[in-house]
Subunit: 520 residues, 2 copies
């Protein structure tokens, strides 16, 4: 509830940790950050910047952060489960992944390719002549990180945005997500213990709570870039604020995604059970609260497709009800499903909605003809909007052209998935252009796999055309550090004055491209 009177404005609002299994308050974690507190956090982060200049400090700090998190594993998982109801197995896995991610970025820092060192020696024969030029990448400054609701570890205080920012040499101020404020504070404490081990000031990681604090953060003159994972509405508002600043800053936001899946008739005929049960597992993972949940599945009409859906329904029955991250999400899910289910031509073979008790939701799916979904001006457009929770929309298509027409209507996505038969996978049968036509839709394209479970790897790309992300960058994988860097070139600079990264003798033994050729 927003504060109203002048008195209410002076008393900072309390921040509560809430148990979604009961909707009851667990404890007061602290108070929402005032504008002065946001300013102080950014100034403290900025003051810590210099200590990250040394790459050795950065990688050691990242590794110690992973160690500290693991040391606090028991408490972190217990508190996160109490706040999010995601369950200990999933949260233990997520914490392991988060630590792996921190150590991966430490390796990235040590290896040094991300500095992108390029050297051009003088060439008087060029027009205009080329002087001595030496380029590498330097950190942008304080990074604002907006935590996600659905990943209390991996996309939160010490998640991918923070880890990649530290790797790049940038201090961070995190805006905590209200779904897990206590977990956020515990994580921040672990990060600060790790910082202290390497004489990095605690201010290297700021943590603020509250909607207004998030707005103040994006407008702070010393904030140089932002990372965000969340809704289209919230992300777009912050993107707009970042762009409207006197000095605009890069805003790397992951906003929303439908993650379409196309099942070919041959695939449906070949593996109806495997695809149906795989879909059920993927769309209910984390109670359907994954940004890469398959939210739209194109299934052929006819017996094979019917069989696939039968298996899907059976599998969903076995999954059973789950608890969502908070009451608002649960209510939005129930309302959102009901609105969609009442549209003409929409059926609900397994109806998603309220679960057996007031705090749970049950998984299910809706079906509609692809031809109806592909119509230009239609109330069915709602079915092409992401609906957080354990529901997917199944579009039945009569022929491949109908499926393509529907796919062409979709906004940008994080992922697009193709399920094909064995002979189609071998290129021996089917439409050879299918994958090329799915590619414009997404940043990750999968074949005979499911999009949930985003691996941390150099070749990962977690991003896609808007609204999947607001930039062409990734928030998972080694290249995520690129977001927090800018190139700078030194021209005609005597070796003695150059930063060591760019000296001719390569004292730091960095990977370099020299005169167009990569050194070993």
């Amino acid at each position: 509830m927003p504060a109203s009177g002048p008195e209410a404005n002076t008393a900072p609002r309390p921040v509560w940790s809430i148990d979604p299994r009961t909707d009851e308050r667990r404890e007061q974690v602290g108070t929402e950050a005032t504008p002065a507190a946001v300013d102080a956090a950014v100034l403290a982060a900025h003051a810590a910047w210099d200590t990250l200049a040394d790459r050795g400090v950065r990688s050691a700090f990242l590794r110690s952060t992973a160690d500290e998190l693991e040391r606090s594993r028991e408490e972190l998982v217990a508190v996160a489960d109490a706040e999010t109801a995601l369950g200990a197995p999933r949260l233990n896995g997520e914490l392991t992944r988060t630590c792996y991610q921190l150590r991966s970025f430490a390796d990235t820092v040590d290896e040094g390719s991300f500095l992108d060192v390029i050297i051009s020696h003088p060439d008087a024969s060029a027009t205009p002549p080329v002087p001595d030029l030496r380029r590498y990448k330097i950190p942008l400054g304080v990074v604002a990180v907006y935590s996600a609701s659905n990943f209390p570890f991996a996309f939160s205080v010490a998640g991918g945005d923070t880890a990649s920012a530290f790797a790049a040499g940038c201090p961070v101020v995190v805006k905590a997500h209200p779904d897990h404020p206590a977990t956020s504070e515990l994580t921040a404490a672990a990060v600060r213990r790790a910082a202290a081990e390497h004489a990095v000031p605690e201010g290297v990681l700021g943590l603020v709570h509250g909607f207004d604090a998030g707005v103040a953060l994006i407008g702070h003159p010393l904030v140089a870039a932002a990372g965000f994972t969340g809704s289209v509405r919230g992300g777009r508002a912050l993107f707009d604020a970042a762009a409207a600043r006197p000095v605009p800053i890069p805003f790397h936001g992951e906003l929303g995604s439908l993650n379409p899946v196309l099942v070919t008739p041959a695939a449906a005929a070949e593996r109806p059970e495997e695809i149906g049960s795989g879909l059920a597992a993927s769309m209910t993972m984390g109670t359907g609260q994954f940004c890469v949940k398959p939210g739209l599945v194109l299934v052929p009409e006819g017996a094979a497709g019917d069989e696939l859906l039968k298996v899907l329904g059976q599998s969903l029955g076995e999954v059973g009800a789950g608890v969502m991250l908070d009451r608002r999400m649960r209510e939005n899910f129930v309302t959102g499903v009901a609105e969609r289910a009442q549209l003409p031509h929409v059926e609900a073979p397994v109806r998603p909605g309220p679960g057996p008790d007031a705090h749970t939701v049950g998984p299910g799916f809706l079906t509609a003809p692809a031809a109806v979904l592909a119509q230009d001006q239609s109330a069915h457009a709602l079915l092409l909007e992401e609906c957080f929770g354990p529901v997917t929309i199944v579009a039945r298509y009569a022929d491949p052209a109908e499926a393509q027409t529907l796919l062409a209507r979709l906004p940008g996505n994080l992922t697009a998935t193709l399920h094909v038969s064995g002979p189609e996978a071998a290129g021996a049968e089917g439409d050879p252009g299918l994958l090329a036509r799915l590619t414009p839709l997404a940043g990750r394209v999968l074949v005979n796999a499911w999009p949930t479970g985003v691996a941390v790897a150099p070749a990962q790309h977690h991003g896609g055309p808007y609204p999947a992300t607001t930039s062409t960058s990734t928030s998972v994988g080694t290249t995520a550090a690129e977001r927090w860097l800018r190139p700078v070139t030194y021209q005609s600079t005597p070796d003695a004055l150059l930063p060591p990264e760019l000296r001719e003798s390569n004292p730091l033994n960095l990977p370099r491209v020299v005169d167009g050729l990569r050194e070993d």
Copy 2:
């Protein structure tokens, strides 16, 4: 003058080529593009996209474009000189540079590193497990290019933005600059002849004239990114429009830069003549109409600095008057200099302003105490804004701290330059932190050199903190192609269905990083 009546709105406005040496119309080049014409140009460009998918076609097309421009050199230079008064020697050099740039990007396309191929093989031991992931970069789509006034070749129709977009596989629609519409049309014709040689549709390069056409272009749903070189005002308006779209697009704009130069007391004492005459040459190059013109020079007080300025004044006298690109720029220069010169504490040892005849301007410089310029709230802030034309502001500083205080006040820049003495350059004397403190100011940092004459080379970076550029990218050099690409990752995709760039056997022999290691 804007059209007013309904009739005026239906008749497209004429586009005139104007001679800045007389301010008279040379010829009518065509008419301003209507909204329908802009739409048609974007659709034609989009339709040509597929033909750029083949990298061999792209590099051949880029090379043929360079060949065609060289074949038309005589006419291109004559017409460009008639429209811009930049002179045949400069324009011949600029055309040579433009052709070199096109061929450099052809080499980039053939070499293939810009595709950034990264492959991660499956690793079941990771958390979560790593499936087969293969990442590379694909073109974004139609790129809108806004030409610069001051480079009718190198930053115009076939300049760096267009060349890098073609290299990335993106078709282009150029919004011509009104200072050289005839040159723009001739260049476009050359590009289209080159396209025809490789069966690329002519629509691969659209060309539109008119302010309104530029606004329509940035809002077109099929425009996927934009490049811009020009003023802060125009660039910011287009940046804002790009960010406000239903689907925001990347806007890579180069807007404005003061390009500060710091001369240490030791440098002034050691080489007053060399620095004074070098500054005169750099600040008057192209009649001071370079985005990297040194616009603010910090010179120590005292005899050595006085001597440097004496040489500067003498050298400027030898340069003499020049013609600017158009009447509006000339008038803005004269007004802008007069406004600055009348401020308290400002002196004009060599007064810049109107030249000996009505169509020319004479070079000069203004001086002011650094302490006055560094004041927070001051009419002198005007002196820290870019002034297009042959003028520079000389800030006299009493001690190094005063110089640093002034530098810390500056907005972002394309370049920052340091002039030091021999012993300082060797690191044997002086302040070892000077270069590190200049680095946050700019995207290119120079020592004992001048920022004009931007080399085309892999290690080049032509960009900098806002307002120098609106993104962290460069518009010159090999890495400029990155602006028009986005990564996509294929997961668990059978070899037969993969694009050839990502197949296991590497049939295109591309540079790759596989499982974290670079292949040879």
